[in-house]
Subunit: 444 residues, 2 copies
């Protein structure tokens, strides 16, 4: 924190807080713009001027909306500058972001980051560095863009017991599933369209295979349950096998299909508690608040013992919305530099064990082509009942070569459910199990 | 903060934080319960044990769910105790709450309060006391119960520019309007029912006349616009004149009626900014996110320049949900006592002037009985056009003695709109202006 006279100041603010921005993509560009355009407001809110010391980019030659003298392709040197108090990391990826952030924190510089992949692996290491040097590590922008989720979970609900966090936290897959649902188009067609509109990246793997949603589930589960949860702890299934036929069939059950990130406190019969974190496409009733979250929007539903059910909704991605979350963290980190104090530390005291997906009670929706002859339904039902999975609904459709059976189960351990499906696949009477999805958002 | 050995401790936590609770109604009872039931979790999250030193009540004889030795009818003595570090004020009303809170803050004790009426008048005085003694003044529970709204506005959006906050923040009136809408019952009938079910108090004035919603609007406007706004600055209209016929008529325009608390940054043509804070029942389109908020639920929609539109939804009242918000604040205040640092101070640097409702652009919905003869519509339209208010929709209903005209206007200064209505009331052709409501939540 520089004690030099603030040139634009006059009045009580004579200090400035040095800010380094690493990465100048969509979000970085917006952060730099807001730092400049809202400089006076930010100074009033922080109690000191936020002074941009430099912006680290990969390609110095590319034209940017910032004074060229601020650009550097040496992020390590920028982070190490004495006049940098806060580092805003928006480069993404594990390396070199991990090293840069750790170095910043080890040197007492606070860090604001939107890097979910990094946090989902290395929050422990980074939080330890922050704790030791009394620096802040803020990451509201890492989950659900502009929507305040991290702060409500770590602060507003700090006196409550969170039971469940379920969210639509990946805009790309929500855009794709919403479009498939609305237009009846198939996955491949909509994915191409999403790419053309800028909603999907050239390599969409991180989004469509659920890696991004899994990183966010790990972050949410960690803070909701005061337990360190990493991406490897999250059961993950993507949306690539969801078909427009599935969405059409879901409608017949008054449901739609969403890619959900679910973090749940699972209680065994003996009272033992475990944490389940999982990502998969699931049917949810059209009446569920998450069902109406369309396009690139995000929403997170939190259920806590005393607060009941809360929902947070808004824009989950995009330059300006994500920059809003970054700036909120930046102002808080800067205020702490000015007024003393610090944000919440990582809280992992509960150290709950991770529940395997096998043990988590789920509901299944299974659609299959079957031989059109008497007794098939009874045989299929018996495979479920053998494994103590009871059926909530069975629907037969078509006839002859096109005879189809749709089964919806009641809650039972996921392992039992998947064993039922495996048994169905072995039955001669079942010609093809065409779709297996879970059903979420129901009370029973 | 006592440095004595924590009897239940062992391990690193050797300090305890003394808590005084003032008032043991619904919320206070839940706060005391959670303090006890979640003691171990709270200790782990705070880094010290939260120790309940006493509970101030009016009637010592009334049986309570708390150790009788903790009860006192002398709140001032309880607040003054050396071993009280944080005061939780849940007694409501201006006096003696105001004096007790001020004394606590002046003595460096942090305060958590849910007292919206007090905050809407005296935040300035209380915040000054808090700033001088470096104590915290937290009040998440004062607006929208369990729903995090204060913290998102003061922290998450600290780097953004809020344009508008619009919310359903009074559960009683929302219950009444929802029930009138669903059942077609009249206001008086539903109000009685609400009282019977515990949704309305014996004297419902504060709720149905909009005083409660106005207090909350003042609090929201203050923090959203960094300007001190008090209840007196809020234009306030209640729901007592809303009829079931109004709700029925609203449906014909694909709208419903909600009591809204609206805080808006109003920009004049010369760029001058003012703050409008207002409470009134208004038509909103059924497609608007607030239209589906039913019963005793609350929701707040925030529009900010970079974040876009955010929505927060949940239980806005009730013992346990409100206690959840209180406990979140209590944990944060206690953490600050343990780790140093403090929450955000009151921020009033923007000092925006308050806009009179007269100057705020609004849209009107006017329903009237008219004489059924040629030229009436033209005469009525001319009263609007004379005052530069343009009409968005006109609908004629019934005939003869029952001829009615419904007019919906485009946006124009509220003074012009109300002058039009006054002119209509003076017209011989207008037999009765039966309903005047504003229309909100439309883009045009």
């Amino acid at each position: 924190m520089s004690q030099t006279q603030d040139p634009a100041g006059g009045g009580i603010q004579t200090r400035s807080i040095g800010v380094a921005v690493l990465g100048m993509g969509n979000v970085g560009t917006e952060v730099v713009r807001i730092l400049e355009e809202s400089a006076d407001d930010l100074r009033a809110r922080v109690g000191a001027r936020l002074q941009l010391r430099g912006v680290a980019v990969r390609d110095l030659a590319k034209p940017r909306q910032v004074d060229a003298s601020l650009l550097t392709d040496d992020p390590a040197a920028l982070v190490a500058r004495d006049d940098v108090d806060i580092v805003v990391e928006l480069m993404g990826g594990i390396d070199p972001a991990r090293t840069l952030i750790r170095h910043a924190l080890e040197n007492g510089k606070s860090v604001v980051t939107a890097n979910k992949a990094l946090l989902a692996e290395y929050t422990g290491e980074l939080a330890t560095a922050a704790a030791q040097s009394r620096a802040d590590l803020y990451f509201e922008a890492a989950v659900a863009g502009a929507i305040p989720v991290i702060r409500p979970l770590t602060q507003s609900l700090a006196g409550d017991t969170v039971e469940r966090v379920a969210g639509i936290v990946n805009g790309t897959t929500n855009f794709i599933l919403s479009a498939m649902d609305a237009d009846g188009d198939d996955y491949d067609v909509v994915l191409k369209e999403a790419g053309r509109l800028g909603y999907a990246e050239a390599d969409p793997t991180a989004d469509v295979e659920g890696f991004d949603a899994a990183s966010k589930a790990a972050i949410l589960a960690s803070i909701a349950f005061h337990t360190r949860v990493t991406a490897a702890d999250v059961h993950r299934e993507g949306i690539t096998s969801v078909t427009s036929a599935d969405l059409l069939a879901a409608r017949k059950f008054d449901c739609t299909i969403k890619l959900l990130s679910i973090c749940e406190r699972v209680r065994d019969t003996d009272g033992t508690q475990r944490v389940s974190a999982r990502v998969y496409p699931a049917l949810i009733p059209l009446s569920h608040p998450l069902a109406t979250v369309g396009g690139a929007f995000n929403a997170v539903v939190v259920e806590a013992q005393n607060a009941g059910r809360l929902m947070f909704y808004g824009q989950g991605a995009g330059g300006a919305p994500t920059a809003s979350a970054v700036l909120g963290d930046l102002v808080m980190a800067a205020r702490n530099k000015v007024h003393g104090g610090r944000g919440p530390l990582e809280s992992t005291y509960a150290k709950l064990p991770i529940a395997s997906i096998d043990d988590v009670p789920t509901r299944y929706y299974v659609s299959m082509r079957v031989a059109d002859r008497p007794g098939v339904l009874a045989q299929i039902a018996s495979e479920f009942s053998k494994r103590s999975v009871s059926l909530a609904a069975v629907r037969q459709e078509g006839a002859g070569d096109d005879a189809r059976l749709i089964v919806v189960t009641h809650r039972a351990p996921d392992r039992a459910q998947s064993e039922c499906v495996a048994a169905l696949e072995d039955m001669d009477e079942v010609l093809k199990v065409s779709s297996v999805l879970r059903l979420e958002g129901t009370d029973d």
